[in-house]
């Protein structure tokens, strides 16, 4: 299997590339293509990264190929990590529109190149933000069943972890979805949450108790960012810890992003979790940003929806019943180009 990481010189892309090799997902019979820009820092860095990967994993490493233009992208699975991000530096543009303006060109270029040069069966996983406009842009060139935004998948894994941590159980025992927009408009769907063993009145009561609310993320954000600026990351995380699991899902990664750590480990591990199943021939049942044509809630546009997918792409949308508020918020967050 050939996997291309576009933006392999960046923080997230590099972690994804390293994890693919370190965790043995790609071995000597596979190929990992590291994609960067010849005129950027990656023009040099990717050569070094390739040598470092071979140095570390030698005989276990896949064939390593370097590419420096979208036209050179050649793989069965393309992971798009390239582009600008929000770092928390003073004065930087933080709007979704500004991020989209910065990152749409690379997404379009990659999708156009894969459409022109590919074999037609490629899977494109969009990690770069903002996920929804980029998925929409890629679907202008590629079969929409083969383009998935990773935002809702990441959010869902984080939500399940937050619920599991609060109950003191393993994440694997928790089911539940985060749908809608990848951003502060995300919708942790409590109506979909179930935890193995938490059945009956007592179990349902404990699960209901997790749902404490506490305000909208947008309202809490200024206080958390003020704490981060004035007292540091530990103080900001303490504020986040006091919120319910749904809000922690939105705000903990934001603190991680702004404190400078970014989220390479969490993002890479989640991608790997998905690829481990897909590359092994299995199916994944989760949430992802997809271009809908009425299959979920009658929506047309890009949003996080419950899907079943494999290496062949999206197999189907899973019909999930949401409560009225969740449904309204998912509807409100649909991206239409």
């Amino acid at each position: 299997m050939d996997v291309a990481v576009v933006g392999a010189g960046g923080v997230i892309g590099r972690q994804v590339a390293i994890a693919l090799v370190a965790e043995g997902l790609l071995g000597p019979e596979d190929r990992l293509q590291l994609v960067g820009r010849r005129d950027g820092a990656s023009g040099s860095l990717l050569h070094g990264l390739a040598h470092d990967l071979r140095d570390a994993w030698a005989e276990a490493a896949p064939e390593l190929d370097l590419a420096f233009a979208p036209e050179e992208v050649l793989a069965d699975v393309v992971v798009l990590c390239a582009g600008a991000t929000i770092t928390g530096r003073p004065g930087e543009a933080r709007s979704r529109a500004a991020l989209a303006a910065a990152n749409l060109p690379v997404a379009e270029a990659v999708a156009r190149a894969v459409a022109a040069n590919g074999h037609g069966g490629e899977l494109l996983l969009v990690v770069t933000n903002p996920v929804e406009p980029l998925v929409a842009a890629c679907c202008r060139h590629l079969d929409r069943r083969r383009v998935l935004g990773m935002g809702a998948f990441l959010d869902t894994m984080r939500f399940r972890h937050e619920v599991a941590a609060e109950l003191g159980v393993r994440r694997q025992l928790v089911s539940g979805l985060v749908l809608g927009e990848h951003g502060f408009g995300m919708v942790p769907c409590w109506s979909t949450v179930a935890v193995h063993g938490f059945v009956g009145d007592d179990g349902r009561s404990r699960l209901a108790g997790l749902r404490r609310g506490g305000g909208a993320a947008g309202e809490l954000l200024p206080r958390i960012e003020a704490a981060l600026a004035a007292e540091g990351a530990a103080a900001a995380y303490r504020l986040v810890e006091g919120l319910d699991a749904g809000l922690r899902t939105m705000l903990r990664p934001w603190v991680t992003q702004l404190c400078g750590a970014r989220t390479p480990c969490g993002t890479a591990e989640t991608i790997l979790r998905l690829l481990r199943t897909v590359l092994g021939g299995g199916q994944v049942v989760a949430a992802a940003q997809v271009l809908l044509a009425g299959e979920f809630l009658g929506l047309h546009g890009v949003t996080g929806a419950p899907v079943v997918f494999s290496a062949a792409g999206i197999d189907r949308i899973v019909p999930v019943a949401l409560d009225a508020d969740e449904e309204a918020r998912v509807r409100a967050g649909v991206f239409t180009a």
Partner: protein, 87 residues
């Protein structure tokens, strides 16, 4: 639509154990079965010749993919019905 193709690959170095198998896996991983294969020295150069069957988009992808292999010096693919190849 599936067409029969003839592929000639000149490798960077001849006589490397497993080379034919490694290049064959590029086809196998995309569901392409190789109908005929041979590996020999021709005019003092190591050469692999294959025939296989697939649609044209996949064939062109395989050609691009082979060109990016570090073991491949040159590759030429043409419909099997056409005259012999020169990489």
């Amino acid at each position: 639509m599936s067409t029969s193709w003839r592929c000639r690959i000149e490798t960077v170095q001849g006589d490397r154990p497993g080379q034919l198998a490694r290049l064959g896996r590029i086809f196998a991983a995309r569901g392409v079965s190789i109908d005929e294969a041979s590996a020999a020295m021709r005019d003092g150069r190591p050469r692999i010749e294959l025939t296989f069957r697939c649609g044209e988009p996949l064939c062109r992808w395989l050609e691009r993919r082979l060109r990016r292999s570090p073991e491949v010096a040159a590759v030429a693919i043409a419909p099997a019905a056409e005259p012999p190849l020169t990489p």
